[in-house]
C-alpha cells in the first residue's frame, strides 16, 4: 500500500466512523508533518455529506416503483411508447397509447376486444381475446406455448377517416416449441422450384426458422 493510499484510506475510515485508535494515531502523526490533512478531512466529510444527500434525493423515486402485477402490459407502457416513437414514428406511439387507454389491462389486445369474433369455436370464449387467451392457456399446459414477447412490432398506423381513432397494424409474437422427426429447409432444384431438403447434422442451439 502506498503512502498516498494510506492517507486516502485513513480519511475514508474517519468519514465512515470506522477509524481505529491506531488509525487516529497515524492521522495525528501525519498531521504533525502536514497539517493540511485536517482541512482535507473536513472537505472530504463535506463532500460525502453532500453526495449522500444528493443521492438520497435522486434515488427517492425508487420507493414509488413497485413490482408489476403483470409485467407485460401497462407497466412498460411509457417505455414502449418511447421505443415505438423512435422506431415507428410518433403516430404509432400515439396509436399504442390510444389502444392502451381504451384497454388498459390488456397487452396489445387491440381495439377488437369486446367485439364478437363470430367464427370462434365453442369452448374458446366469445371474443378474439378470449379465444387467444384460451389458446395460450392450453398451449402452456400442453407445453407448446413457451411465452409471449411483451413488445408488439408495429407495422403500420393511420388515423381513421372519421377521426374516431387510429388504426395500428402490429405483430404479436408468441414463442412456441414442438418436437419433429426431421427438419427440412427449402432449397431450389435445377428447375428453380422449391423442394424440401432434410437438414443433416443439425447443431444444438437456437436456429432461425
Amino acid at each position: 500500500m502506498t503512502p498516498v493510499m494510506d492517507r486516502d484510506i485513513l480519511i475514508a475510515r474517519v468519514i465512515d466512523a470506522e477509524a481505529s485508535p491506531e488509525d487516529w494515531a497515524t492521522i495525528r502523526t501525519l498531521a504533525e508533518r502536514d497539517p493540511s490533512i485536517w482541512s482535507e478531512l473536513a472537505a472530504a466529510q463535506q463532500d460525502q455529506a453532500d453526495l449522500a444527500a444528493a443521492l438520497a434525493e435522486a434515488t427517492r423515486i425508487a420507493d414509488r416503483v413497485d413490482l408489476p402485477r403483470d409485467p407485460a402490459p401497462s407497466f412498460v407502457l411509457r417505455r414502449r411508447l418511447r421505443v415505438a416513437g423512435a422506431a415507428g414514428g410518433w403516430l404509432a406511439a400515439a396509436a399504442l397509447l390510444l389502444a392502451w387507454w381504451v384497454h388498459p389491462g390488456s397487452a396489445g389486445t387491440g381495439p377488437e376486444r369486446g367485439q364478437e369474433a363470430g367464427l370462434v369455436p365453442s369452448g374458446f370464449g366469445a371474443t378474439a381475446d378470449d379465444a387467444l387467451q384460451a389458446y395460450l392457456d392450453r398451449g402452456v399446459r400442453d407445453g407448446r406455448v413457451v411465452g409471449v414477447e411483451p413488445d408488439l412490432l408495429i407495422r403500420d398506423s393511420r388515423p381513421l377517416d372519421d377521426g374516431s381513432g387510429v388504426e395500428i397494424v402490429y405483430v404479436r409474437r408468441i414463442v412456441e416449441r414442438m418436437v419433429v422427426d426431421k427438419m427440412y429447409k427449402a432449397s431450389l432444384d435445377e428447375r428453380g422450384l422449391y423442394v424440401p431438403v432434410p437438414v443433416q447434422n443439425l447443431p444444438s442451439g437456437r436456429r432461425r426458422m
Partner: protein, 191 residues
C-alpha cells in the same frame, strides 16, 4: 433487517412464487438498484423507467437464477444491462434524429443546478466506473463494504480502496485540482 440483507430462503421463496417474498426483496433492494442505475445510465435516461424495467425483469426472470446466494450480483447485472441497453438505444436514436429527441436526451437532471449537493453528484458521475459505483453504493443507507462487495462480487479490501480513492478523486474534482477529469472505466491503485 438492513437495507440490503436478503436471505437465501427469501430468494428461494420468491422463485417459487411467493409474491410477498418477492415484493419484500424488491422493496429492500430497490434503493441500491437505483444507485447502480444512476451510476451506469446514459444522460437523459429516466431513472424511473429503468427501475420499472429492472422490476419487470426481476418478476419474469428470477426463476432462472440458479444460485439464490448470487441474487445481489445478479440483480446488479440486470440493472447494469438495463442501463447499458438504454445507452445503446439512445445512441441509435441520436444517429436518426427525431424531433424533440435531442432536447430530451440533453435535458438537465432534475436536481437544481445551484444545489451544492447536486454539483457533487454530477462530479461523482465523472469518476471512472470502478470508483463511481462503489462510492454511490456507500451512500445508500450506509451500505457496508461487505454488502457492497457482495453486490459487486469483489473483495472488501478492494471496495474500501476504491471508495477511498474515489473520494480523493472527487475532492480533487470539487476543488478544481484536476486539469482534466479522470477517464471513465479505468481502475487505478487497486489493492
Amino acid at each position: 433487517m438492513n437495507q440490503v440483507d436478503g436471505s437465501i430462503g427469501e430468494v428461494r421463496a420468491a422463485q417459487e412464487g411467493d409474491h410477498g417474498a418477492l415484493r419484500g426483496l424488491w422493496q429492500r433492494h430497490r434503493r441500491w438498484v437505483a444507485a447502480v442505475l444512476l451510476a451506469h445510465k446514459p444522460r437523459g435516461a429516466e431513472l424511473e423507467d429503468l427501475l420499472q424495467e429492472v422490476a419487470t425483469i426481476l418478476v419474469s426472470r428470477l426463476s432462472e437464477l440458479r444460485d439464490p446466494a448470487a441474487f445481489k450480483p445478479w440483480l446488479r447485472m440486470v440493472a447494469v444491462n438495463a442501463a447499458r441497453a438504454q445507452g445503446r438505444k439512445a445512441s441509435r436514436r441520436r444517429e436518426r434524429p427525431v424531433e424533440g429527441l435531442e432536447e430530451m436526451l440533453t435535458a438537465p437532471e432534475p436536481l437544481a443546478e445551484r444545489d451544492e449537493a447536486a454539483r457533487i453528484l454530477r462530479l461523482a458521475m465523472q469518476l471512472p466506473d470502478a470508483y463511481r459505483e462503489p462510492l454511490l453504493l456507500r451512500c445508500v443507507h450506509g451500505m457496508s463494504h461487505r454488502e457492497i462487495g457482495q453486490v459487486l462480487d469483489l473483495p472488501e479490501t478492494t471496495i474500501e480502496t476504491r471508495i477511498a480513492r474515489g473520494r480523493r478523486m472527487l475532492r480533487e474534482l470539487a476543488a478544481g485540482a484536476c486539469a482534466s477529469p479522470p477517464v471513465r472505466g479505468a481502475a487505478e491503485g487497486e489493492l
